[in-house]
């Protein structure tokens, strides 16, 4: 059993650095290979881009609040929507989730770092420079040609709009290279996570004793290894088209526009699961702790996660129902898409089973998690509706789709990112993130989210296509769009509460101690924040909840698992 936790040992490694001059401390963060610092830098960097891309979204919503508004030009609107989409996926979602896995995996499996710390740092800096490069396009892309600014071809950049004939200047090249860099960084991180999880677990932690979060990280890492290389290959081909005059996607010279779509979505759809499985991972840790019950159906949860990983590799062309596939082809992708709903549903049922019979504590991380459950349920069901291919011919590329995937990306993933930040903030900083401001954050964000994204479903059903910079009055869209924009104001206010809360709590928050939530996994057995080497002595575990065993020696988990 984990009898090895001895808090009397002088394990506060950070103390000796505190007296260094400011420049020296910055230098330490730049050269660090510590998984915790890299994790925090990923999350912090992701949050910075979250603010930028969020402001871009707010600008678009202001433009669309009333019909025929002239706030931004069509060209600027197209840049806003391209940058918003690209940044939210590659510069916000990916780094924040990678950051959490970076921070948590070694702590949860009782390791001192990831398997390849330098590769980890390399991945981070590739991501950081790729992201900066994308935004540098606003300044750099006019380039020698004097045309274009930031990329304006949409985040999925359909060929041949991205070819030189239709996208002059360098903006699309910036987009290609930025995404190429961040994807290579993600591939490095994925290899690192797989190796770490297979090779670095502490004594006693067999695969089936790992926390559910670690299992999901493993599935996500494998999915990244499979899904990202096609994206990188497609970016390389597009670059050859643009810079060397190749014809992969150049339809005017016989290239294929559909080929790009297949490449993009065989990355793009697994990517949705790469982003949402970490949200499942957080929920699978937070819901049990705040329900005071062990996760219901651990084995089924693990199998369902792996099943989602496999099935989600075969659903990509449901993004392409309207491109004119054969009836048999369409039917195949209807089938695979609907089937992926089954293991996903099983996960919701098991979280429900975890809450059932528990004693639910409504702390901020749990509030966000409960909202996640409802919102993810709705997002999954609208996903089933979109999988009905003929109906998708009506709804694809409309605001119904926008509302559906924002229900996943915001209602599920962002809500769970907030939950995870409130839950693990005490571990990373040693101080609690304020509960009172946290509740303001939660309720404002909940109201804003529903005002914006519930209404947008109806815009789609009323025939409003996505990616239009304006629309006509008198087409039944005014009230919907006005409500959606008002919702953004609530979301912005909520994010301000959150930022204020973070700034305040880092300096003055209540001291957390090693285990503020009375939780059960290994990260709570070390100090908050953990020393650079995580554990003075590597732990030894006998069950999935080593701290439960420690706290309840009369009724340990390993008797039942």
């Amino acid at each position: 059993m984990a009898t090895t936790i001895d808090h009397s040992l002088p394990i506060d490694g950070a103390a000796e650095t505190r007296d260094r001059p400011a420049l020296g401390r910055v230098h330490e963060w730049v050269v660090t290979v510590d998984h915790k610092r890299l994790g925090l830098m990923y999350i912090g960097g992701g949050l910075v881009f979250f603010l930028v891309a969020g402001l871009q979204a707010s600008t678009m919503r202001l433009q669309l609040a009333i019909p025929e508004a002239g706030l931004v030009s069509p060209e600027m609107f197209n840049r806003l929507m391209t940058m918003h989409g690209t940044a939210m996926v590659f510069m916000v979602g990916m780094p924040i989730l990678t950051g959490f896995f970076n921070y948590l995996i070694p702590l949860m499996i009782g390791a001192r770092d990831l398997a390849f710390p330098r590769l980890n740092a390399f991945g981070f800096w590739l991501w950081a420079f790729g992201s900066i490069l994308l935004y540098f396009s606003y300044i750099g892309a006019p380039g020698l040609y004097g045309a274009g600014s930031a990329p304006d071809v949409g985040w999925f950049a359909y060929a041949p709009l991205t070819e030189r004939a239709f996208s002059r200047g360098s903006s699309t090249d910036y987009w290609i290279i930025a995404i190429f860099l961040t994807s290579v960084g993600s591939i490095a991180t994925a290899a690192n996570l797989v190796t770490t999880i297979f090779c670095m677990r502490c004594e006693g932690m067999r695969l089936n004793k790992m926390p559910v979060l670690v299992w999901l990280a493993l599935v996500v890492a494998f999915m990244m290894l499979i899904a990202l290389p096609p994206l990188s290959a497609a970016q390389a081909m597009l670059m050859l088209d643009r810079l060397l005059g190749a014809h992969f996607f150049d339809t005017q010279a016989g290239g294929s526009a559909i080929l790009w779509q297949h490449f993009f979505w065989i990355f793009g759809h697994p990517e949705v699961y790469i982003l949402v499985l970490p949200a499942f991972a957080f929920a699978s840790e937070i819901i049990p702790v705040f329900s005071r019950k062990v996760i219901f159906g651990y084995n089924v949860m693990v199998v369902a996660s792996i099943a989602i990983g496999f099935i989600s590799m075969s659903v990509w062309a449901h993004h392409m129902f309207a491109v004119g596939m054969t009836a048999a082809g369409n039917s195949f992708f209807v089938t695979s898409t609907m089937l992926v709903g089954v293991p996903t549903g099983i996960k919701i049922f098991n979280w429900l089973g975890t809450i059932w019979g528990g004693k639910v504590r409504f702390k901020v991380p749990m509030l966000f998690s409960l909202a996640f459950l409802f919102q993810f349920l709705i997002a999954g069901l609208t996903g089933i509706i979109l999988a009905v291919a003929p109906f998708d011919w009506q709804l694809t590329d409309t605001y119904f789709v926008v509302a559906h995937f924002h229900y996943i990306l915001v209602g599920a993933i962002l809500f769970m990112i907030f939950a995870a930040i409130y839950y693990w903030f005490p571990k990373a900083t040693g101080r609690m993130l304020g509960e009172r401001l946290g509740r303001w954050h939660f309720w404002l964000f909940l109201i804003g989210f529903h005002l914006t994204f519930d209404t947008l479903h109806f815009a789609g059903l009323r025939g409003m296509p996505r990616r239009i910079y304006t629309y006509e009055p008198g087409r039944g869209l005014e009230a919907i769009n006005m409500l959606a924009t008002i919702g953004v104001a609530f979301q912005a206010a909520a994010v301000l509460c959150f930022l204020f809360n973070v700034v305040k709590s880092i300096r003055k928050g209540e001291i957390a101690g090693p285990d503020p939530w009375d939780a059960w996994t290994l990260e709570w057995s070390t100090t908050s924040p953990p020393p650079e080497y995580n554990f003075a002595q590597l732990p030894v575990v006998k069950s999935r909840r080593p701290l439960w065993d420690l706290k309840h020696p009369e009724d340990p988990d390993w008797l039942y698992e």
């Binding site: 025929e68 069509p74 197209n78 071809v153 949409g154 359909y158 060929a159 041949p160 709009l161 239709f166 339809t251 005017q252 016989g254 290239g255 526009a257 559909i258 062990v294 219901f296 159906g297 084995n299 309207a322 004119g324 054969t326 009836a327 369409n330 209807v334 089938t335 609907m338 089954v342 549903g345 099983i346 919701i348 049922f349 429900l352 089973g353 059932w356 019979g357 004693k359 504590r361 409504f362 409960l370 409802f374 349920l377 709705i378 089933i384 509706i385 999988a387 009905v388 003929p390 109906f391 009506q394 709804l395 590329d397 059903l461 009323r462 025939g463 006509e472 008198g474 087409r475 698992e561």
Partner: protein
């Protein structure tokens, strides 16, 4: 523009007047029924259990009983969803085959639809008609359907042809021929627009479909056939038009204007709108458009020709004679 289009009912995907859209709506109601039922059951149970199993004020601080799982329950909530999705899969597949493999009854009409950055070209091969942005089709009698089959091609980038009340959208992709069909049962004007992001003016690539009783439609066909009447009073405008770059992109049948890059203007005045629906086709709007297209549709590929005021007036006067 809004004033004219306000009178046309909103593009709700449930306000269907054509078989493909109608079949889709029926299937959609079934899908909403099933998913709505799932939402009520699961969401209701979730809400109930959160309230029921909240920590009470008089809690004694002990941990609740730890339940690790249950195989019968797991089996039940795996089997039921599988059954439900299989019903949905089979109904969906049946509708896919119905819509994608339609019959071609005699009397059906074939139209070539060519997407351009940011307008639509419509060609009627059997009638030798070329027009733009406003598709005229005959009414189809449900008892004796005369559907219109649209062959979709693109001249540049990917677009998508979407008129929600008539059918779902089908992408218009360069180097590829797609097909879709409509058979409208109610006369009137239907609005639609490009459904796939295609560049700067994606938002202003609108479609009008005018559905007319067969006799009216045949009148329209006859009018489109007539050669352009050349009104001698507009001779100066015609000379300016034919002496500038207009003719490189536009066609006016029977003249030296034979460009294929932009809309055919032979019967310009038979259309309700200009600039792919961005403005009503009035002399004032035509003048503004010819003077500087970017004022009406920023990013439009038609350049401002910088005509002096007299030439501008004359060209517009000439254009208004193209009935």
């Amino acid at each position: 523009m809004g004033a004219a289009n306000r009178l046309i009912p909103p593009n709700t995907v449930f306000g269907t007047t054509s078989t493909p859209a109608h079949v889709i709506t029926t299937l959609a109601f079934f899908a909403f029924l099933v998913t709505g039922g799932i939402f009520l059951v699961v969401g209701g149970t979730l809400a109930w259990s959160i309230v029921r199993f909240r920590r009470r004020a008089d809690d004694d601080g002990t941990e609740p009983p730890q339940v690790y799982g249950s195989n019968p329950i797991e089996f039940a909530w795996t089997a039921v969803p599988i059954l439900i999705v299989f019903v949905l899969i089979l109904t969906t597949a049946r509708t896919i085959f119905t819509l994608q493999e339609p019959a071609h009854p005699p009397g059906s009409l074939n139209v070539r639809v060519i997407g351009h950055q940011w307008w639509w070209e419509f060609r009627y091969p059997a009638y030798g008609i070329v027009t733009a942005n406003e598709l005229h089709v005959p009414l189809s009698d449900p008892a004796h359907p005369t559907p219109t089959f649209l062959a979709l091609e693109s001249a540049d980038v990917a677009h998508s042809f979407w008129v929600p009340r008539l059918a779902g959208k089908t992408d218009v992709i360069p180097n590829r021929k797609n097909e879709m069909w409509i058979d409208p049962h109610v006369a009137g004007t239907y609005l639609g627009q490009c459904g796939e992001f295609c560049g700067t003016e994606h938002a202003m690539m609108l479609i009008r479909v005018v559905v007319e009783p067969r006799a009216d439609w045949e009148k329209w066909v006859a009018a489109q056939h007539a050669t352009a009447t050349i009104d001698p009073s507009a001779a100066r405008g015609r000379a300016v038009f034919e002496g500038t770059a207009c003719v490189n992109c536009h066609t006016v049948a029977g003249t030296n204007a034979t460009g294929r890059f932009a809309p055919d203007l032979t019967h310009l005045m038979s259309r309700e709108t200009i600039a792919a629906g961005a403005a009503l086709n009035t002399p004032a709007n035509l003048k503004a458009w010819v003077d500087d297209p970017a004022m009406i549709k920023p990013g439009a590929l038609m350049p401002a020709m910088n005509l002096d005021p007299q030439d501008l007036d004359d060209v517009v006067a000439y254009l208004t004679t193209l009935k």
